[in-house]
């Protein structure tokens, strides 16, 4: 048993407020052995980023480390002097921060941001520094002509790689990676992780990897710790956790959303049988196109967000629109719900006679028929209004209920989406509820008008993993009980398979492939679909390392 490289004992971190301090991290203890990949898993708000930033003591105010001992490579961090700490940083331990998109200084070029580390710690500058910078960039597969680029000229994936390159700059023995791939496309994410593991193999670095995705981590980590509400609830070797884990929370995390590949397991929702008799479709989209023009007279820049998209949806179906960011799926959602007008193409609702894209103003009738659930449960509710307001307004606007019946109807709706007791929730404000509760309210709002179609734009991607299935089940329940049609938009192939009957795959504004969920997963036809399926299946790491 080798001596641990990192030792954390009883670490506690608090945030000072005008009332009681917020205890973000409570008595966290763990050890990391040299050369291993140690994972830290938890939902947003569990404290995992706080822990690692506290370890490096880079937490900004109003944070205070109220207790604990951290030893990194024989250096006692809590008692080190200011000079020691600064000398320590980057030499002994570096960090790839969450959302690397914002980790780079917008006014400095890539070269300057690599050079300053080299200069500060090794005193290297000029040509020697340039050479080193080129080496680093090639390590992460970036062309050295990017040295002169500024952050705004780089894609998300490139920025992430550059931040990793900076983290490697003076070859520290330990690197912390805080959700390094969360904001990236699934395929890019898998490639970057494969690269990280390759680097680990070649350079022998110890890695502390943070993510909210347990399944992802179990593919490549050696040991991991699971955090909830600032505490560690499980800490074990990955092999042991795969067998089930001890804490009930672990079980919940593992059990959420069955994988996108392999045989159809029991957990997946069953579809009603009466689906196989298509009459005329409830929603039809023909040659839909949306082009965005940059504002200003001299600007010639055009972005084609949606390019000649056509599809049909039948009553009672759940259809998933799967694509990465930039594929145009959210734009299609906005076009169908008439938040935006298409550049060309047509949308037919309920039969060929009613072509709806003609009129400028949207008839109230359409609004009643087509409703939407948004991605961000906090953003889609107005923070100054209560649940009552959010649900009453649509009802009053459409004249569906009068004043006397409204309150009881609202309580009924809230309880239908699983918030009990309804009476308690009616008067709450958004900030008094959790993310999952808010999203349920948003769904109740959409359902209040008894629409025929609901467009759900990534309804679970900003929710904690442990409750995603519950929210998706609400849609399945509505489809079964009320014959509701759902257009489910997501980037996650696994949830699409879980919930939807059919899947449409989008890339760069165009439809790549379309099929029933099972057929698409088992027999993908297009290359891109195959990549997606592979990336979402267990064992993706092996397939990637084989091909590279």
């Amino acid at each position: 048993m080798s001596k641990p490289l990192i030792s954390v004992k009883n670490l506690s971190v608090e945030y000072i407020t005008d009332t009681v301090p917020i205890k973000a991290v409570r008595n966290v203890s763990f050890e990391i052995l040299p050369g291993e990949i140690f994972g830290l898993v938890g939902e947003s708000g569990s404290g995992k980023s706080t822990v690692v930033q506290a370890m490096m003591r880079i937490l900004p105010p109003p944070a205070v480390i109220s207790k604990g001992k951290v030893v990194i490579n024989n250096e006692n961090i809590m008692e080190a002097s200011k000079a020691d700490i600064i000398g320590f940083r980057w030499k002994q331990i570096s960090i790839v921060m969450q959302s690397a998109l914002n980790a780079l200084n917008p006014v400095l070029s890539v070269r300057e941001q690599i050079h300053d580390v080299l200069d500060t710690h090794k005193g290297i500058n000029g040509k020697k520094a340039d050479d080193r910078a080129k080496e680093l960039l090639s390590l992460v597969d970036i062309n050295y002509d990017r040295l002169e680029s500024y952050p705004h000229q780089l894609s998300g994936g490139m920025k992430q790689r550059i931040v990793i390159a900076i983290a490697l700059a003076i070859m520290p023995p330990i690197i912390i990676m805080d959700e390094p791939t969360t904001a990236l496309d699934v395929i890019v994410e898998r490639e970057i992780i494969a690269k990280i593991i390759e680097l680990r193999r070649e350079l022998g670095i110890t890695i502390l990897f943070i993510t909210h995705d347990l399944n992802l981590l179990m593919e490549f980590a050696d040991r991991l710790a699971i955090m909830k509400n600032g505490e560690i609830v499980e800490l074990d070797k990955v092999k042991d956790i795969q067998k089930g884990g001890k804490h009930p929370y672990t079980k919940k995390l593992i059990g959420s959303i069955p994988s996108a590949s392999g045989k159809r397991e029991k957990g997946i929702l069953s579809k009603p049988d009466s689906l196989d008799s298509p009459k005329s479709p409830i929603l039809e989209v023909h040659n839909l196109e949306k082009v965005f023009q940059s504002p200003g007279i001299f600007n010639k820049n055009k972005i084609v967000a949606v390019n000649d998209v056509s599809f049909k949806i039948f009553k009672g179906e759940i259809v998933a629109l799967v694509g990465e960011s930039g594929s145009g799926k959210s734009t299609i959602a906005k076009l169908i719900t008439r938040i935006m007008r298409p550049s060309s193409g047509s949308i037919y609702l309920n039969g060929k006679n009613k072509k709806v894209t003609e009129s400028r103003s949207v008839p109230l009738d359409y609004r009643k028929t087509v409703q939407m659930v948004f991605q961000d449960p906090f953003g889609s509710l107005n923070s100054i209004h209560t649940v009552y307001h959010h649900l009453a307004r649509p009802l009053l606007r459409h004249g569906l209920k009068d004043q006397k019946e409204i309150l009881s109807h609202i309580i009924y709706l809230i309880e239908k989406v699983g918030l009990n007791p309804g009476k308690k929730f009616v008067e709450k404000f958004p900030h008094e509820m959790s993310g999952g509760e808010r999203q349920r309210v948003a769904i109740a709002r959409a359902l209040s008008l008894e629409p025929q179609i609901i467009v759900a734009d990534e309804p679970t991607s900003m929710l904690d993993v442990s409750i995603r299935m519950d929210v998706l089940e609400i849609f399945a329940k509505m489809r079964k009980e009320n014959n509701l049609t759902v257009l489910f938009i997501t980037h996650d192939l696994a949830s699409a398979r879980y919930l939807a009957d059919r899947i449409i795959v989008l890339k760069n504004g165009s439809i790549i492939e379309e099929n029933t969920s099972e057929d698409l997963i088992q027999n993908p036809r297009e290359k891109y679909t195959k990549q997606l399926v592979k990336a979402a299946s267990p064992g993706w790491l092996n397939s990637l390392s084989k091909s590279s």
């Binding site: 944070a63 109220s66 938040i339 948004f374 307004r393 948003a442």
Partner: protein, 311 residues
């Protein structure tokens, strides 16, 4: 649930929140005091226009601020001058915010061509220097309070319009607005019921900023002689002080009280704005609290302090 009570509670909750801030509260008290003095005190003191004492006599027990070049009581002049100056100043403030909200809000909410045109209009007025334009207008027009008001509003509306426009644009892109649109709410209703209540702080600080500007600009114009020099306002007080060669005769008391009053009022208004800023940006407060709790030698930029503050 009664809608009126509910709407009022948003307003009153916001108001209470602002008033619990020390700076905003102090500033508001000062303004309130000035306002009360301006409204009521003139009834109890002697007329500022009577030619009473020896001209240019320094402060004494009879005239606590002394007399000006015409032998008028400076104290009375200072007190009575407050009325018109404050009245026009705050009126201009309100008008500026209303116009700014109408134009800026429309531009921000509707976007597209409407925004292009209105933004151009806003930017043109924004970039044109105010004083020369005011001078020309005020010279051509008859020197009435109405002229003054009009000129102040014309040169002052664009700043607020721009600020309100960008806030409106931010809100416009938020999901809760899209959700309201998808529910079928009309645009007007969305602006008034969903967005405006969230802009209360911005509107309030716009009003205060506009009032500060209006008071200062008004005084400047009157100082140049472009107001009605027969009326008693803070600006005309200074005009006459300058005309009667206050500096040459070293009669500081003819211009210092008025100037200080203007400064105190403007400062109080600025204080209120500081307070509103702090309330809208709670990070400022939590950082200050953090700084107060940590012992000085542990505060080092970029290094989280290790400190058990429960001990």
């Amino acid at each position: 649930m009664n809608k009126t009570i509910y709407q009022n509670s948003i307003l009153s909750r916001w108001f209470i929140g602002i008033m619990s801030n020390q700076k905003a509260f102090t500033g508001s008290c000062i303004i309130l005091i000035f306002a009360l003095i301006a409204i009521f005190l003139p009834f109890f003191i002697q007329s500022p226009t009577d030619f009473l004492g020896t001209p240019l006599s320094p402060p004494s027990s009879e005239y606590i601020f002394g007399t000006n070049g015409q032998g008028q009581d400076v104290f009375a002049q200072t007190i009575c001058g407050a009325r018109q100056t404050l009245l026009i100043g705050f009126s201009a403030g309100i008008l500026v915010v209303i116009i700014g909200a109408l134009i800026g809000g429309t531009a921000g909410f509707y976007g597209g061509r409407t925004d292009d045109i209105l933004s151009l209009l806003i930017n043109i007025f924004l970039v044109m220097p105010g004083l020369p334009l005011m001078v020309i207008l005020a010279s051509w027009l008859p020197p009435t309070p109405g002229t003054l008001l009009g000129v102040l509003v014309l040169t002052g509306w664009s700043w607020n319009a721009r600020v309100i426009r960008s806030q409106m644009m931010t809100f416009r892109n938020r999901d809760f607005v899209s959700a309201a649109i998808v529910s079928g709410e009309s645009n007007i209703r969305i602006i008034i019921v969903e967005i405006m209540p969230r802009m209360l702080s911005l509107l309030a600080s716009s009003f205060i900023g506009a009032s500060i500007y209006a008071i200062g600009a008004q005084v400047g114009l009157e100082f140049l002689g472009l107001g009605d020099v027969s009326t008693v306002t803070w600006g005309t007080n200074l005009y006459w002080a300058s005309n009667d060669l206050a500096l040459l005769t070293e009669s500081w008391w003819t211009f210092v009280p008025t100037g200080l009053s203007i400064a105190i009022v403007s400062f109080a208004l600025t204080l209120i704005n500081f307070g509103i800023d702090e309330v809208s940006n709670p990070r400022l407060i939590s950082e200050r609290l953090w700084r107060n709790e940590i012992p000085k030698d542990m505060v080092s930029h970029g290094i989280t302090p290790v400190f058990n503050h429960h001990e």
